[in-house]
Subunit: 226 residues, 2 copies
């Protein structure tokens, strides 16, 4: 992933610019996966890619823009994987759909990390154009998911699926943070029986909650149940 | 809220120490409510309370510890309000319980902001003792909520209510961030019809999703539904 700095300085064509952006994103992805988004600075990314920080800022305006681009890529990649998984299974009912959401999200730790950081930090330190591009990218990624879910659960309407996706990504983001608190805090949770509630496993918990949410949505929100 | 700095320097008794802590927390609460947690620094809090930053650090180890204390207070206060609201209503079924969660959370914007920041940022820059105290405080706040929900919906078991509370606070934290993106980004969302999905209202959306989740939990997770 580290290219020669002089090559970076020479490159001026659109193609060369794209290659540099790709290298920067790859370095950020690798560092983010290794130590969590929160602890990766622009200086770290520049060092990993073999550029000066000032040179890197010609490609991305802030570290948040880099991670917002990775979040958008994460949405597209997750959308493909989830849609494929939804179309492969033939098991009827909400539980199988919920399990496909939970399995594909839990398998993408850095994407879950990014999902929590996007509205809190990433969208707040980039240009309006970058926010617009990001929102349009997530919108495009939602569409195939929505179509695949409604094929599996025809009782759901458009708004139900919007709510389902929002619930899945919000919970995945929050749960990943709670499930990955750093080594010292994880040891604290495991060592004190009063803190057992703080030890969570993302995939089964997400599957259980989304099964309930989908069951309720499919049962129809208008019909009150005791 | 601003007290005389010399008075702060004189105070040495446990009572005086408590008063100072209270003043620091009040200043942080006021600044956090005004501009969002993300943009409040330790220097801002010290200035608002009329102390030097170095003096303030004798009371709290980091800005994150201050906000984690406010999050714990927020849990206790929300627990009281929600429990009271759950006990006042006599309307049967999941929808009324969901509305009580949504209304009490949506009325507490800074608490929602803190709920998103706690696992992501606050718990990651404090001592293990501070994390333990915080976790025990949230556990204590969950107990009366759990009891009040199970009085209203006896079909739910303990784990259902744990999942319900986790879902409610995770969604409230994430949705509050999306609903409060800052003035410029809010204008962008409102000005571009393609971004209409980014404009969300916390209370009705939270009520709708939690109604579905509760309906599904009450219907029983083991019984598959189409």
């Amino acid at each position: 992933m580290v290219e020669d700095a002089s090559e970076f300085q020479r490159a001026r064509s659109p193609e060369a610019k794209r290659r540099r952006e790709t290298a920067i994103l790859a370095a950020a992805r690798s560092l983010g996966a290794e130590r969590g988004i929160r602890d990766v600075t622009l200086t770290d990314i520049a060092a990993a890619v073999g550029m000066h920080k000032s040179a890197l800022l010609r490609y991305f305006e802030t570290r948040e823009e880099i991670f917002l681009r990775l979040t958008a890529e994460g949405w597209a990649e997750w959308s493909d994987a989830l849609t494929a998984q939804l179309r492969e299974s033939t098991e009827p009912g909400p539980a199988a759909v919920a399990r496909a959401f939970a399995a594909t999200l839990a398998a993408r730790g850095m994407f879950c990390d990014l999902l929590a950081h996007a509205p809190l930090n990433l969208e707040r330190n980039v240009s309006l154009d970058a926010v617009r591009d990001f929102k349009l990218a997530t919108l495009a990624a939602r569409e195939p998911i929505s179509a695949a879910v409604r094929e599996r659960l025809p009782a759901l309407d458009e708004q139900d699926v919007v709510d389902l996706i929002a619930t899945a990504v919000s919970l995945a983001g929050a749960m990943w943070q709670i499930a990955n608190p750093g080594a010292e805090v994880a040891a604290l949770y495991r060592g004190d029986p009063r803190l057992a509630h703080a030890v969570i496993e993302v995939e089964p918990r997400l599957a259980r909650i989304l099964t309930a949410t989908l069951t309720g949505l499919a049962a129809g929100r208008s019909r009150p149940q005791a």
